[in-house]
Subunit: 640 residues, 2 copies
């Protein structure tokens, strides 16, 4: 029988404060016993105690110039009109930079200011004040002075100063050891032959890398099956060998979610459930004075759980605080609705278009790890807000530097596989540049251009009356704008079918068959418009097609639906069929253009793209995808 | 005989552009042969090629909820008023989150929405649309899609996505191998017993840590003596084993500066000398198609040379560009003069005081490594500028995060060793907080308060008329301000003398002796005022004291001068004498207060200091320095 566990619903700040203060009272946030490390291996470690110089630097009076060391007293009275002569070896001593001053000397005259009268006699025309061109003992570091305080993160310059101050080793805080316990009978190691129901155990690798990037030491444990006894046994041994234990997952309230019970059996649970999305079913617990955290199973939730609750604990145990993320103010490009009572973390793409930074939300599912991979940052929708409207300004926590965002070309519109190739060659040719593409269909792209949210739009819109591509749509949607249509590719559209075409589908008319199910593209997609045009031509009624309402957002998603058996056929590009090893019946060649506002034409955003499109290696790589013709790639097809 | 080599004087941007373009034409900036690494070890590496998913994630239709899997078709017609019954095991199948959908099922009903009529019969009151609560194949990652492009820096989320997409290993750019050649007959390894003229070879450790922090691999070579043949031999072998070679130093134009000649003998020198300060005598060369760079010997110059010229080369060889430093606009607290024709990099301390960020320059010598250790950032004074006036706004490149700057308490004024202890305990108690202290003497500190450059000032100013400390000075210098004087310590001032007091100095009157030399503090320092007061009391004329004009800026510098034999006596605190194991003759106890504007009293800047001053462990540590009395520590002595 299923159990019902009611999770807490604390704001995460309150949960964190409660947790840290509980751990603090236990002493669980104190760093461990300091480690003595050689100064030259201390990069990135945190000093456990202040470090004081053992010697001064310089430790002797040193010449700061190549020249002659003198007693300043001997030089008094030297003027241009009455030069003074000094005997080399008795009153003046050749020194190079860094040499110690000979006994009794207290100044150096630069070689450029010396006139050799004879090899052993010089003439000078300026007196040398005491300590001229001398690096005094302790000029840089005075013996006993503090070089770095406790809890200081050691940087390269600190290593230099420590060694210069005679400090060859220092005590640093130990790196907190974080045990990662993957749990779940369905988990298999990467590289295993997969059967349905198997889940690759990648979370512990991602979470381990997070821990290491914060300065912790990740101890990855073997996979624990979903039974209470094994879980408890592994948990007990993990607590003994680590400073912090993370259990992933079983933190929710389902029938096989034993994590909270296991922690309770050995210690205590402070919080179970926080009011965030994603990341709600987190468990904050403690066993034997050590933090034990139940991390949700979905990868985005797991990431959030670590970022919110584990990062502060790791840094506190190293005597420091987590470095803050950069933030930027951005204009929200489309409505983001959120439930009141939950703080939602929305991943967004960012681009500097004209004078504003535009934020476009990407998939919000907790299971969509690629939403984090693709994200440029995160917008937090506060608990007591219902979200943002298009045009609102919101603060974004940045995953990339402001410069990277500034160097990003934003393309919004129809999806085509050649855009991945373009993104890749752009990065290769211009390491500082990025192509950010959002797939909202051809019409969506032109509308985004109208709202000033993109530098260009990918579009393949067939005018049902003229049979021509793009021009009439651009005139209608962007009537007052100066734009150019630059061709990217011609490509084959056709029916994507299961391997071997088991249902014998050969033309559009077959879609009317009762035993054939179809997967469509979303409204506004050029491919959807193409389908409707072709159906009209052949007088095929849409409501006779099973699955006409089953919508997907990209060619690849259509191909995946066919591959998975969720549909027998979809209309899409040949490259998508080839990529998934599916059959393909070609129907038509269509033109795919980039619509570019002229005001961006001469900016690096566009000029770099055009330069990459002209590269033979780019064009060759696109052709390899199959179904592409690049005869007009880079050519201006039309200008308004 | 000395040679005269005229160095170039190129702006560094022009030098860098010339160098990179030369290297680029040679192919010397291309990354090396890619390395295959396991995905889970790829953190921080840079992808050498785009990485495509090998499998979809999920790779099967998975339940997104705990519940029952059904055929959506079977659920049509279920309403609250006409529930629909389904037989468990035939039409409805229990599934947990992540389980594969049984054959034929295309939707999941949440367990919360199911009513069990019998153990094998359920009732539902809502129809389930197709794909409800199902994670479709490829919802996260579609097989063949690009997970990361070429030249992408691998982060923890990327590792998760790569493994989820069936990618267990990937090609990354090799870490550039950077040979570091320390040269100089005077160099000795850390830990060696030092004699005058020995220089600890710490530069290669600092530079190596810089290289490693950028992602390169540092190969530190043995020390090469200053002779042309050895230098050339080591250089030739370094070029063979590394991708980039750094020679430190010998890059200037002195008699033992062979670096440029050695590079020229084996390859070519593109640039010798750039118009920056520090960092001028840098050499940009090439041997066998590999970058070879002559790095100046002074540590700050060496640091600058690497930052300006080596960092871009290392990043280019990894297919990326260096991350930019954060910047902030700051108000310059005092005049910074710079020569026209040279771009100067001035290290500054920063603090948020009131509503502005204040930048205070610190020592500018190329040999003062502590100026980099202490710096919060750098202000660049452009080549064609003569500098900044006090009150000007300048852009600062930050070495610390804006939050760290915001959390810094700025104390400017008299120097006391207890301030180091205070800084240290502040950091221990508040890991996010920093104490930044600049030592400009007591009067300088009060003046800084008047200009709004500090949160408080350390002051010990004796009124020669009243014999009272601080109050009259505060009234005079800060007439309209509301401030409080809070005691930090009482401390012994006296004569700091060589160990064993060889000259038999016992009182101030001894300073008049012909065989006694003195070292003084700078004008405006409380100790200088104290000296003048004491001399007046005893009717001792200042011009009878040898060395009265020899000024140092801190107690420790005075002690160092005595320790080094540059002076026989100085007036200073007992703690400085104890630290350097010197003799001390006590003269007077003085009061050292913090002058705190009331408007800052309740801010964390001050409240944290007061909390730390109340800690018994802080007070105990100060007492250990010697010569301190903390009977009034934290007590308000006076309020305006």
């Amino acid at each position: 029988m299923k159990r019902t566990v009611y999770l807490d619903d604390l704001p995460w700040e309150a949960a964190l404060e409660k947790y840290l203060s509980y751990l603090n009272d236990l002493g669980a946030l104190n760093p461990g016993r300091p480690e003595l490390v050689p100064a030259e291996e201390a990069l990135g470690r945190v000093a456990a105690a202040p470090v004081y110089a053992r010697i001064s630097s310089p430790h002797y009076h040193a010449s700061a110039m190549d020249g002659l060391a003198v007693r300043s007293y001997d030089t008094y009275g030297a003027f241009e009109i009455s030069p003074k002569k000094l005997r080399v070896g008795r009153e003046a001593f050749p020194v190079d930079t860094g040499d110690p001053l000979p006994e009794g000397c207290d100044a150096v005259i630069m070689i450029e200011d010396v006139h050799y009268v004879q090899p052993d006699l010089i003439e000078i025309i300026h007196a040398a004040p005491p300590w001229q061109h001398v690096r005094f003992v302790g000029e840089d570091i005075v013996a006993t002075e503090m070089i770095i305080p406790a809890n200081h993160l050691v940087r390269p310059v600190d290593i230099g100063a420590l060694l210069a101050g005679g400090v060859d080793s220092l005590y640093v805080h130990p790196r907190p050891r974080v045990a990662l316990m993957p749990t779940g009978t369905e988990l298999v190691q990467p590289g295993t032959d997969l059967k349905p129901g198997d889940i690759i155990e990648y979370n512990s690798r991602m979470l381990g890398a997070m821990v290491e990037s914060w300065g912790g030491k990740a101890l990855r444990k073997e996979i624990t099956a979903d039974d209470f006894a094994s879980l408890k046994a592994t948990l007990a041994s993990s607590v003994d060998e680590a400073d912090i234990v993370l259990i992933n997952a079983g933190s929710s309230s389902g029938s096989e979610d034993f994590t909270a019970d296991a922690i309770r059996a050995l210690g205590s649970v402070l919080v179970h459930g926080v009011a965030t999305k994603p990341g709600k079913p987190v468990i904050l617990g403690e066993i034997k004075g050590k933090p034990v955290i139940g991390v949700p199973g979905y990868p985005v939730s797991a990431y959030m759980g670590l970022d919110l609750f584990v990062k502060p604990v790791i840094f506190r145990k190293m005597g420091t605080v987590p470095p803050p993320l950069d933030t930027a103010e951005a204009t929200v490009s489309r409505k983001m609705v959120s439930s009141v009572g939950v703080e939602e973390f929305v991943r967004v793409k960012l681009g500097q278009v004209g004078d504003k930074v535009v934020a476009t939300p990407i998939a919000r599912g907790a299971g969509v790890l690629m939403s984090l991979v693709r994200a440029d940052g995160v917008i937090r929708i506060p608990r007591l807000s219902e979200g943002y409207n298009a045009g609102d300004t919101a603060t974004v926590e940045l995953f990339r530097t402001p410069r990277e965002i500034r160097e990003t070309t934003v393309i919004i519109g129809s999806h085509d596989n050649s855009l991945d190739v373009l993104a890749n060659f752009l990065r290769l040719k211009y390491p500082e540049a990025t192509l950010s593409s959002a797939h909202v269909g051809s019409l969506g792209g032109l509308t985004a251009l109208r709202r000033g949210e993109a530098h260009c739009a990918g579009t393949h819109l067939l005018d049902e009356e003229t049979g021509e591509y793009n021009i009439n749509y651009v005139k209608r949607i962007l009537p007052d704008r100066k734009v150019a249509l630059v061709n990217l590719v011609y490509r084959e559209q056709g029916l994507i079918l299961a391997r071997g075409n088991p249902k014998g589908i050969h033309e559009l008319a077959d879609l009317r068959r009762d035993d054939v199910s179809f997967v469509n593209r979303q409204r506004g997609a050029g491919t959807r418009i193409l389908l409707d045009y072709l159906l009209g031509e052949k007088d095929i009624a849409a409501d006779l097609i099973r699955g006409y309402d089953h919508e997907e957002y990209t060619h690849m998603a259509v191909a995946v639906a066919v591959k998975a058996g969720a549909a027998d056929a979809g209309l899409g590009i040949r490259a998508a069929a080839i990529a998934l090893d599916l059959d393909f019946v070609s129907i038509v060649e269509e033109r795919y253009d980039l619509c570019i506002p002229l005001k961006y034409m001469d900016t690096p955003y566009i000029q770099r793209l055009l330069a990459v499109m002209a590269l033979p290696e780019f064009q060759a790589e696109v052709k390899k995808l199959g179904g592409y013709d690049l005869r007009d790639c880079g050519k201006v097809m039309w200008r308004s």
